[in-house]
Homo-oligomer: 130 residues x 2
DNA sequence: TCTAAATTTGTAATCATTACAATTTTATAA
DNA sequence: TTATAAAATTGTAATGATTACAAATTTAGA
């Protein structure tokens, strides 16, 4: 993945901060919170501000290269994988994993009344390590 | 629905506040926020405190008669309908609707690695009124 | 009725997020 | 290269939802 091209292709000027934040999201795939992103990246970029992390993530979301994961009501996580997938959170270890899924198999009733544009599927339970 | 029995059957002492809050959730089915619940009920119960609304909802959740709806990352909503269903939020009017769904039709790949206990499905788009 | 336990309430504290202005960096044109 | 404007980043303060906690009230049982 060429992060600079990816940002540029999505109308985002590739500053150092933006490249690093996207790279972190894309490479780690752990659906981190703002605090986690900030804590990890401030080691690389000592001047980094948490406001920049917020601003940048909002920019990414507005330009369609990042999505929020709201699997818990008290923490917002971020995800740079935009292909169709669900999320599973282990109640024991707290990790959030990607789950491949075929949303087209979902059968709704009375769904004709709505024009669905986005679908989010969140699963919880216990992972095989716990 | 006999709210007093429902609370009692779930080990919740049926105080006036608890009955009214559950009744509001169950009858309105609009997936309200804490503020909405408080604003509406304080007309009936002038002494009502927002802390009581928070405490009571937490009690309901712990005892399995209420669930949170985290379809947006900046607002927590509450739902007293515990039967399997998905939620649809209209991006235009902001209303959240229940959607009947058969979760058993969902086909996961590699899901064997996880023991799924709860499933939440959130849809967004445009409703037929907007 | 009396006492203890449970519930409710109001206030203060906490924490994530946003607003905003100042600073720094980048891009452009002379 | 230098000057200037625009964009991006930063730090601090403000906001708003939620929680902590102690006081007040209500309920239940002896």
């Amino acid at each position: 993945m060429d992060f600079v091209s990816h940002l540029t292709n999505n109308n985002i000027k590739p500053s150092l901060q933006r490249i690093k934040i996207f790279e972190y999201l894309y490479d780690n795939r752990k659906h981190p919170t703002v605090d986690t992103i900030y804590s990890n990246l401030v080691e690389d970029i000592p001047t980094l501000s948490k406001t920049t992390v917020y601003n940048t993530l909002k920019l990414f979301i507005d330009n369609g290269i990042t999505a929020t994961v709201t699997i818990e009501d008290n923490e917002v996580r971020y995800d740079a994988i935009m292909e169709e997938h669900a999320h599973f959170k282990c109640d024991t270890c707290g990790n959030v994993y990607d789950v491949e899924i075929d949303i087209s198999t979902l059968k709704f009733k009375k769904i004709k009344a709505f024009k669905v544009e986005t679908t989010n599927i969140y699963l919880k339970g216990k992972c095989n390590k716990c």
